[in-house]
């Protein structure tokens, strides 16, 4: 099992504490209605994890701001995605 955290550890971030730029619209939809939960494996930063009861937990601190989760949530459009406030989020050193 590859730990994506080890990769993200190399990156620079300016985390906007308490202002996540991505939110799950209705958590119940993810837990009950969404059978595929593709956000849990498509997100390249592993921001979405599935708990034992099927609940999806989203932690945006390691977000690479690619937009994948926004686009792959095709069935329920349950991802509310905005850019971080100016200056916050990932700070690419090399890009």
């Amino acid at each position: 099992m590859i730990k994506v955290e080890e990769k993200l550890f190399q990156n620079r971030y300016r985390v906007d504490a308490e202002h996540p730029h991505i939110n799950i619209g209705n958590p119940e939809v993810c837990q009950v209605e969404c059978k595929t939960q593709q956000c849990t494996y498509c997100c390249p930063a592993g921001c979405y994890t599935r708990e034992g009861n099927g609940r999806i937990v989203l932690i945006t601190d390691g977000c690479l701001e690619c937009g994948t989760c926004r686009i792959i949530c095709t069935e329920f459009r349950n991802v509310e995605w905005e850019y971080p406030r100016g200056g916050y989020g990932i700070l690419f050193k090399f890009g």
């Binding site: 994948t68 686009i71 100016g86 200056g87 690419f92 890009g95």
Partner: protein
């Protein structure tokens, strides 16, 4: 700030910088807004710079642009699990200035480009996210930002806000991206001593090598991998269609990890220190997915407009070209005192239609569909070609004619004669 500008450019990537530079240089009053701490801090690319597109904007860019290596060799690999079949093209012609292609590191390059935009006279404000377009009925008249009192007005707004382009979507200018129209690429940068890179890749001085890869590394998904040489680092990455990631259930970082462990790739990276991991979406829908790119008081440039030639791995040059052409369109209208209406800005689309940008996209317009429906190009063929090479190169007392028959049977068994001919026809049609 209740100031009015001739033009506002949203975003400081290659397309936004090209547009802002072109307009500022011509004397227009230009404001450029960037959400990152500095231009480049949100931008990701492989990255290869194509000189031609930049030369048309800044002819003497080589004098001070941060360039890594000029490319003298291109390797194409078709990989099976333990092997690859490849072709190389290397030429000393590529060693004669002016060089045609360079590897670059985007955070550094974008900073340099942005400095040029500033010198040309544009006002650049960073750490500012544009949240909305200000509309007067159907006409864009300015932008709202996340700064206090952040409404700013202009005759025209150029959206260079990248692949996600939330602004254009919010305004209803183009529909949401579909997972089949975007590739997700992940990439790492590994640092190694300069001499090690030069020995390992058989290059000297500022010379560089590109390796483009296809085959089993994408585990059957439509996509490619790459490895580029920078001065003191290597970038390695892999990208596949988002719809395939979704269907396959593969995580992008696991795919990259597996690719890095391929016996032909691992030794090239050995001893390197990984210093950054990035991800980026690439709009690869091609010609048929290009949205409306102009309207009342607005233009769309770069990734936001799907300007990527996926077949030739070109994007930044299309970005710079669309940015420049958008800037020139605005300059021309302003000079003739014409309003920035949709009817007048249509000149932008027309100019692009007559340029390599739309001509190339049009040429490969059927490619996305063909690749989506024919995954054998990424699985069966790489396997067959590698096995054929293995059979022919293994010396084991079996005569060559028997070996040839074995190879032919292998191809027919896997893909049938009809399938083989069909695939050849499809590829011919797609490249025609």
């Amino acid at each position: 700030m209740d100031e009015k500008f001739d033009a506002i450019v949203v975003g400081a990537g290659p397309s936004g910088n090209a547009a802002a530079y072109t307009m500022a240089k011509a004397g227009l009053k230009v404001l450029q807004l960037e959400r990152g701490e500095y231009p480049g801090s949100k931008n990701v690319q492989g990255a290869i710079l194509y000189s031609d597109a930049l030369e048309r904007i800044i002819p003497d860019f080589r004098e001070d642009a941060p360039l890594e290596r000029h490319l003298i060799e291109q390797r194409m690999w078709v990989l099976d699990d333990e092997s690859y079949v490849g072709s190389n093209y290397r030429s000393d012609e590529f060693n004669k200035p002016p060089y045609n292609r360079y590897t670059i590191i985007r955070a550094q390059f974008d900073k340099w480009f942005s400095q040029k935009v500033r010198e040309a006279g544009a006002l650049i404000i960073c750490e500012t996210t544009v949240t909305d377009l200000i509309m007067d009925r159907t006409r864009v008249i300015g932008v709202r930002t996340d700064r206090e009192g952040g409404s700013i007005y202009a005759d025209v707004v150029i959206l260079a806000d990248g692949v996600n382009s939330l602004l254009a979507k919010k305004a209803g200018f183009h529909p949401e991206l579909h997972p089949k129209d975007v590739a997700l690429a992940v990439k790492e940068i590994h640092f190694l001593p300069q001499e090690t890179i030069e020995q390992r890749f058989n290059v000297g001085g500022d010379e560089g090598v590109v390796i483009e890869m296809a085959g089993k590394i994408t585990q059957g998904m439509v996509g490619t991998g790459f490895l580029y040489t920078n001065k003191e680092s290597l970038t390695i990455g892999v990208g596949c269609m988002l719809s395939d990631f979704k269907q396959q259930g593969t995580s992008p970082y696991a795919l990259l990890e597996q690719m890095k462990s391929h016996p032909s790739i691992k030794p090239l990276l050995a001893g390197g220190e990984m210093k950054e991991y990035t991800a980026h979406l690439i709009p690869e829908g091609g010609y048929n997915a290009v949205p409306q790119i102009y309207g009342e008081g607005w233009l769309i440039v770069g990734d936001s407009g799907m300007f990527v030639n996926a077949v030739h791995r070109e994007g930044s040059n299309l970005a710079m070209t669309t940015g420049r052409v958008a800037g020139e369109t605005v300059i021309e209208l302003a000079a003739r005192k014409k309003p920035m209406s949709a009817a007048n800005l249509a000149l932008y689309r027309k100019t692009l239609d007559d340029s390599f940008v739309m001509k190339d996209l049009k040429k490969y317009r059927n490619m996305p569909e063909i690749l989506h429906g024919n995954h054998q190009f990424f699985t069966t063929y790489p396997e067959l070609v590698n096995r054929a090479m293995h059979t022919m190169l293994t010396v084991d007392g079996i005569d060559k004619k028997t070996k040839e028959r074995e190879v032919r049977q292998d191809f027919r068994k896997k893909r049938s004669l009809f399938g083989l001919m069909g695939d050849a026809f499809k590829m011919w049609r797609a490249f025609e």
